[in-house]
């Protein structure tokens, strides 16, 4: 902690203590100044692109929206079971397809199981690009390529899941205990046998946990995939929004909320059983 002496003597009684040196103080002020000006600049850009007339009556619009949403149209529910079933299928098959592709990817990307550093960077590249694109964007792409429907949704979920499952799984593989690997190697096992009997049993619980966790997230994401035409309950949501049928929208929200709660509960139970 730096000390500044107020008079020319070096007696501690007249010393002033501070947490930072002069230079650090200046630096921190400069950082704050830069940060705040950047924020104000950004705010100005947003404010320039906003029609403030619309913002001024936002409370009125909000109240209007809520009054149209309540009560939800309960008798719309029977028409929603089929889309909800589709949504769950999109999430489940998407997750399955995703983990099937993520599994080899993770083994190729983990530092201790990869056959070659070049293959490792290729696998990492796949994982990173899958992670950085949201499943809605994947769905948007696939809908333009494959046409609207469940298949685009399933593939979108699968493509997004590769990165998530792959990343967590390869980290789990890199953290395994080396002793079982050495023990199995010492018996003269081949590379594949080492994988099957030393690496796999160690990462299996983590793998199951990660997959269930991703399934839970995928249920959430697949509820909105329909907004871009990729099937599921989001299609109904989009139709209800486009026709301004807000009582139907609130009904769909309630159903999504319930589904998410149930899937979260299942995922928590299963993860507890595995880990």
């Amino acid at each position: 902690m730096p000390v500044r002496y107020l008079d020319n003597s070096t007696s501690l009684a007249n010393a002033q203590w501070s947490a930072k040196t002069r230079k650090q103080q200046w630096l921190s002020w400069l950082t704050w100044l830069l940060g705040v000006s950047l924020f104000i600049l950004c705010w100005k850009m947003i404010s320039d692109n906003t029609l403030w007339v619309f913002v001024e009556d936002a409370p009125k619009q909000g109240a209007d929206l809520i009054s149209r949403m309540v009560p939800p149209q309960w008798d719309y529910t029977p028409k929603l079971w089929q889309p909800l079933w589709d949504t769950i299928n999109i999430a489940t098959f998407g997750t399955l397809l995703g983990i099937v592709m993520a599994f080899p990817c993770a083994f190729l990307a983990a530092r201790n199981t990869t056959p070659h550093p070049l293959i490792r960077s290729a696998a990492l590249m796949i994982i990173v690009s899958s992670r950085s694109i949201n499943s809605l964007i994947w769905a948007m792409l696939l809908v333009t390529i494959l046409g609207p429907g469940l298949l685009a949704g399933i593939l979108a979920i699968a493509l997004r899941s590769i990165g998530f499952v792959g990343k967590l799984l390869y980290e789990a593989i890199e953290e395994i205990h080396p002793t079982p690997v050495e023990a199995i190697t010492a018996t003269g096992a081949s590379r594949l046998q080492v994988m099957a009997y030393a690496v796999l049993p160690q990462v299996m619980p983590a793998f199951a946990g990660i997959s269930i966790y991703r399934w839970d997230i995928n249920i959430r994401e697949s509820t909105v995939l329909g907004l871009v035409g990729a099937g599921g309950i989001g299609l109904q949501l989009n139709a209800a929004i486009n026709t301004l049928a807000w009582d139907k929208v609130s009904m769909i929200f309630i159903l999504i909320f319930a589904t998410v709660l149930v899937s979260e509960w299942i995922s928590a139970k299963v993860r507890k059983a595995f880990l």
């Binding site: 950047l38 924020f39 950004c42 705010w43 850009m45 947003i46 404010s47 692109n49 906003t50 029609l51 619309f54 913002v55 936002a58 619009q61 909000g62 929206l65 079933w85 589709d86 769950i88 299928n89 489940t92 098959f93 990173v128 690009s129 992670r131 950085s132 694109i133 949201n134 809605l136 964007i137 948007m140 792409l141 333009t144 390529i145 494959l146 046409g147 429907g149 469940l150 298949l151 399933i154 009997y197 049993p201 299996m204 959430r220 994401e221 509820t223 909105v224 907004l227 871009v228 929004i241 929200f253 999504i256 909320f257 998410v260």
Partner: protein, 273 residues
């Protein structure tokens, strides 16, 4: 009849097998059956228009080739505008969201907040975390009109739930001894927060804010689809015009920025902690 061999005997005869994941045989078969039944049912209910898929293959090939030669130039102005909007939305929403999340997070920590405040703050967190950003964006677009303001409010709202929850958990895990030490000097509540709690949670708070900045950028690329501004709107337009070159360029830019921010945020988090 020969008695059933147990696992040790089987292992002695060289017929060892790994332990099954589920111990109870009946339970195991029931689970397998249930899963199979679900798959059959689900598979039958998925109907895929294969002719349409086959038609799409040509487009898929064109899209892949567009990835090899992305078109950055012909819509460069739209791309730059969208990107700037996304980045400004990301920054402002993270700052506002974190600022709002700090009081909520402090209120949602059971060890320093009284029960009514705790329940109130936990309710805010639950509401903000339940729905996807895009659903919140739809509602805010209706309320505030099209444009980046609705997107910014959406992202800030989502940030509050995320940051407040993690901050509250962090505060609940702090070392009580330091709090006691400061309290025994006769410190007031604010002083207690500033000198006992803040130094313990600050590094993680900064790390999480940077992480959230990263997430907010990714999300800002999506909420444009429902009219909340940002690069998502540009991407949506380019795809519906079948301009694959531009779409590929936008995707490449998004991936590059995400990789960059992820790298930077990892670096900053290591530096802070």
């Amino acid at each position: 009849m020969k008695p059933l061999l147990n696992r040790t005997d089987l292992a002695r005869q060289g017929q060892w097998r790994p332990m099954p994941l589920i111990r109870d045989v009946r339970y195991r078969y029931l689970l397998i059956l249930a899963v199979l039944a679900y798959f059959c049912l689900a598979f039958l209910s998925i109907d895929v228009n294969w002719t349409r898929v086959a038609e799409g293959m040509g487009r898929a090939a064109r899209f892949l080739s567009a990835f090899l030669q992305p078109d950055f130039t012909s819509r460069s102005q739209d791309i730059i505008n969208g990107l700037l909007e996304s980045l400004t939305m990301t920054l402002t929403s993270t700052v506002i969201g974190v600022l709002l999340a700090i009081p909520v997070g402090v209120g949602a920590a059971r060890n320093i907040a009284p029960l009514p405040i705790y329940l109130f703050c936990r309710a805010i967190i639950a509401i903000s975390r339940t729905f996807q950003e895009i659903i919140i964006a739809i509602l805010f677009v209706v309320m505030f009109g099209f444009g980046p303001l609705a997107g910014m409010i959406t992202l800030a709202f989502a940030t509050v739930g995320f940051m407040a929850k993690l901050l509250a958990e962090d505060i609940e895990d702090i070392d009580e001894r330091q709090v006691e030490a400061i309290r025994s000097t006769g410190a007031r509540w604010l002083q207690l927060m500033n000198y006992a709690v803040q130094p313990q949670v600050m590094p993680r708070l900064i790390g999480l804010s940077v992480y959230r900045l990263d997430i907010n950028f990714r999300e800002s690329a999506v909420i444009g689809i429902v009219g909340a501004g940002g690069i998502g709107a540009t991407l949506n337009t380019s795809l519906s015009r079948y301009e694959y070159g531009t779409a590929a360029a936008i995707l490449i830019i998004i991936i590059a920025i995400v990789m960059l921010t992820e790298y930077c945020s990892g670096y900053i988090r290591r530096w802070v902690q």
